[in-house]
C-alpha cells in the first residue's frame, strides 16, 4: 500500500479541545540538603477531542492525579511544571492554566472548565446551604435575573434527579449519592466545554455508582462537553469512556478507543491489567503481576515497566520507547510491540 486511505473529514479530530504536549511535572523537595525529584508526570502527550469522554487509567502513584492537577492549573510547591504545554481550545496562547494571568483563569473557570472531585464534601461548603453554594459558584457566570437563575438551577437539578428541596439542605443532610449528584449539577450548570472528573464515583456504593455514571453520561451528551475521566476502576472505564489512556509510573503507555483497549490490548502492562480482572461467571485462574510499581523518585532507566515485563529486551532498559501509532487511533509505547526503531 502506498498511501493510507484518506481519513473521513472530522473537524473535531482536527481541533482537539485539549492538547497536552510532552508535559513534565515533577515534585522537587529539598530536606536538609537532600534533593529529591519525583517525576510524577514525565513526558505525556495526548489530545482530548470535542464531545468525548477520555478515560485515564492507572494504579495509585502512576501520576494520574498529578497529571490532572497540572492540567487544571492547581500547581503548588513542591509540584513544578518542568516542561511541556497544556493547550485548551478556549484558552489559546498561554500553554497552560498555570501560565495564564489570573483574570483569564477566572474567566474560563467554571464557565469553560469545571471539575467533579472524589469527595463531594470537599467541594460543597459544609456551613452553607446548597442554594448559597450554587450562587457562590455559578451566579457570576450566568447572565440572568435572580429568579431566572433559581429556575435554571432547579431545572438543572432535575437532570440529576434531585428535587428543588435539596437547595435548602446542608451538605451533611444529604446522602453520599445525592451529594455527588449535587456536585455534578454544580459542575455542569454553566454548560462548560470541558469537565475534569477525578474518581467521582469511587466513594459511592456500587448501586449508586451506576446511576451516577449514567447521569454523567446523560448530561455530557446533552450539553456536548468533553470529559477527562480519571479512575483506576477498569469496569467504570468500560462502561463510560470513549477513548482510554493507560498510565504507568508517570508515563502514558497505551491509548486507543476503549473498546479497542479491552478487545486488543497491545502493551504488556495493559494486557496484564485487562486479563487480571475477575469476572462473575467464569472460573479462569487470574494472576497478579510480579514485582511492584517503581518508586517515581528513582525510576528504572528506559521503559519503566521493563523490570516486571515478560517481554523485556535489552533495549528496554536503555532507552525510553516512544508512543507510536501502530494503527489509526491506537498508540502504544513498547519496543516489543513496535519493534526497536533506534538507529
Amino acid at each position: 500500500m502506498t498511501a493510507s486511505p484518506a481519513l473521513p473529514a472530522r473537524p473535531d479530530a482536527a481541533a482537539p479541545i485539549l492538547a497536552v504536549r510532552d508535559l513534565k511535572a515533577h515534585f522537587r523537595t529539598n530536606h536538609f540538603g537532600v534533593k529529591r525529584y519525583v517525576k510524577a508526570v514525565d513526558g505525556i502527550s495526548f489530545d482530548v477531542r470535542r464531545g468525548e469522554i477520555y478515560g485515564l487509567a492507572g494504579e495509585s502513584s502512576s501520576g494520574k492525579t498529578t497529571l490532572i492537577k497540572t492540567i487544571a492549573g492547581a500547581i503548588k510547591p513542591p509540584l513544578e511544571v518542568v516542561g511541556g504545554t497544556v493547550d485548551f481550545a478556549f484558552l489559546p496562547g498561554y500553554g497552560g492554566l498555570h501560565r495564564a494571568p489570573p483574570a483569564e483563569v477566572a474567566r474560563i473557570r467554571w464557565r469553560h472548565l469545571s471539575y467533579i472531585m472524589q469527595g463531594s464534601m470537599n467541594v460543597l461548603n459544609p456551613v452553607r446551604r446548597l442554594r448559597a453554594t450554587f450562587a457562590d459558584f455559578a451566579r457570576s457566570h450566568i447572565d440572568a435575573s435572580d429568579r431566572q437563575f433559581e429556575q435554571a438551577v432547579v431545572d438543572h437539578l432535575a437532570r440529576v434527579k434531585l428535587d428543588a428541596s435539596v437547595l435548602t439542605a446542608y451538605p451533611h443532610e444529604l446522602s453520599g449519592g445525592m451529594r455527588q449528584r449535587a456536585t455534578i449539577a454544580l459542575a455542569t450548570i454553566c454548560r462548560p466545554d470541558f469537565i475534569i472528573a477525578d474518581e467521582p464515583t469511587t466513594a459511592l456504593d456500587v448501586v449508586v455508582q451506576k446511576d451516577v455514571l449514567g447521569m454523567i453520561r446523560g448530561i455530557q451528551r446533552e450539553i456536548g462537553s468533553s470529559v477527562l475521566f480519571v479512575t483506576h476502576d477498569m469496569g467504570v472505564h468500560a462502561h463510560l469512556t470513549d477513548r482510554l489512556g493507560i498510565m504507568y509510573a508517570g508515563r502514558l503507555v497505551e491509548e486507543a478507543a476503549t473498546a479497542e483497549i479491552f478487545r486488543r490490548p497491545l502493551h504488556p502492562y495493559t494486557r496484564h491489567l485487562i486479563s487480571s480482572l475477575p469476572r462473575i461467571g467464569d472460573d479462569i485462574q487470574r494472576k497478579g503481576l510480579e514485582g511492584s510499581p517503581p518508586s517515581l523518585a528513582d525510576p528504572p532507566p528506559g521503559c519503566r515497566f521493563h523490570p516486571r515485563c515478560p517481554l523485556a529486551m535489552a533495549a528496554c532498559s536503555e532507552r525510553v520507547p516512544d508512543m507510536v501509532e501502530t494503527e489509526p487511533d491506537h498508540r502504544v509505547a513498547c519496543f516489543a510491540v513496535n519493534g526497536d526503531q533506534a538507529p
Binding site: E59, A238, T258, F262, L273, R279, I280, S292
Partner: protein, 278 residues
C-alpha cells in the same frame, strides 16, 4: 455440634447515639447467624455496601465489639467469656485480623521485622534468636517474601501489596485457624491485587485456614469464595454457595447488586461472544 470453628447465632449489635433525651438506636447488625465448620476450611465472604453492618460483624468476630444480643462461639469458647489476658492471648492464637489499609495498620516509625518478632514471641515461648528468625522467615516465605527483604525496612519502603503480604505473614505467625480480612485488597494496586487474592486461596488449600473475607466487590468474591452472605442494613438478605448466589441471585437487593456490577468489558461491540481464542 461441637465441631464448628465459628458459630454465630442471632448476633445483634445496637449502637445508641445522642444524649439522655434524644437518643437514637442504630441497629448495625440484626439477628445474623452462620456457622463455619472446623473440618472444612473455606473462604466465607460477607458482602455489603457501606452501612450494611459487615464491618461491625467482623469486629464482633474479632471480639473488638461485643454483641448486644446473641452469641459468638469460636472453637467451643463463647467470646463473651474471653476477658482475662490469658484468654485473649489464646483467642488471638486462633483468630487473626487483616485490615483494609496496611499503611494504617503498621506504625510508620517502626521497622516491620520488629512486628513479626514481637508477634512470634508473644505466641510461643522464647526459644532464642535463631529459631525466632527461622519462624519469621518461614511465615514470610508462605506469602512470597523473605526475611531478607523485610529486615530493618519501614512501612513506607514497601508497596501496598508487599505490606499487605507482611500483614498476612504476621497473622500467620500465630498459626491461626481463622483469618478475618476486612476489605484486604481494596487499597492494593490492580496489578498486585490478584496475587493477594490468590494467596488467600493458597492459605485455605495448603494451610487449612478458614477466611472470612469482607468486601463490597462481587467480582473478587465470586473468584475466591466458597460461600457468601449478602447483608443490607444489618440483616442477611441472602446466603449460600457463592456460585449459586452470584449466578442467580434471588433476593431483590442481591439482584440489584449483581446488576450494578460494571463488567470490565465493552459490550455491544463486534467482539465474538466469549469464544475461546485460538
Amino acid at each position: 455440634m461441637s465441631n464448628a470453628l465459628l458459630e454465630v447465632s442471632h448476633a445483634t449489635k445496637v449502637f445508641s447515639r445522642g444524649g439522655l433525651l434524644s437518643s437514637r438506636r442504630i441497629v448495625a447488625v440484626n439477628d445474623v447467624s452462620f456457622r463455619i465448620e472446623a473440618a472444612r476450611p473455606e473462604i466465607f465472604t460477607i458482602i455489603g455496601e457501606s452501612g450494611s453492618g459487615k464491618t461491625t460483624l467482623s469486629r464482633m468476630i474479632l471480639n473488638i465489639e461485643q454483641p448486644s444480643a446473641g452469641s459468638l462461639v469460636l472453637d467451643g469458647t463463647d467470646l463473651s467469656t474471653v476477658r482475662s489476658n490469658r484468654d485473649r492471648l489464646a483467642f488471638m492464637h486462633k483468630v487473626q485480623p487483616i485490615f483494609q489499609n496496611p499503611f494504617e495498620a503498621f506504625n510508620p516509625l517502626k521497622q516491620l521485622d520488629r512486628y513479626l518478632f514481637m508477634t512470634r514471641q508473644r505466641f510461643s515461648a522464647a526459644v532464642g534468636q535463631a529459631a525466632l528468625e527461622a519462624a519469621v522467615d518461614e511465615a514470610l516465605r508462605k506469602v512470597g517474601l523473605s526475611l531478607k527483604e523485610v529486615r530493618h525496612r519501614y512501612p513506607h519502603e514497601m508497596s501496598g501489596g508487599q505490606l499487605q503480604r507482611v500483614a498476612i505473614a504476621r497473622a500467620l505467625l500465630s498459626s491461626p485457624k481463622l483469618i478475618v480480612a476486612d476489605e484486604p485488597v481494596s487499597m492494593v494496586d490492580a496489578s498486585l491485587r490478584m496475587s493477594i487474592v490468590n494467596l488467600f486461596r493458597a492459605l485455605r488449600d495448603d494451610l487449612g485456614i478458614s477466611i472470612i473475607y469482607v468486601t463490597h466487590d462481587l467480582a473478587t468474591a465470586y473468584y475466591i469464595s466458597d460461600r457468601i452472605m449478602i447483608m443490607q442494613n444489618g440483616r442477611v438478605v441472602e446466603s449460600g454457595d457463592a456460585r449459586t448466589v452470584l449466578n442467580a441471585p434471588q433476593h431483590p437487593y442481591s439482584q440489584q447488586l449483581r446488576a450494578a456490577v460494571l463488567l470490565p468489558e465493552v459490550t455491544g461491540g463486534t467482539a465474538p461472544a466469549n469464544s475461546p481464542s485460538t
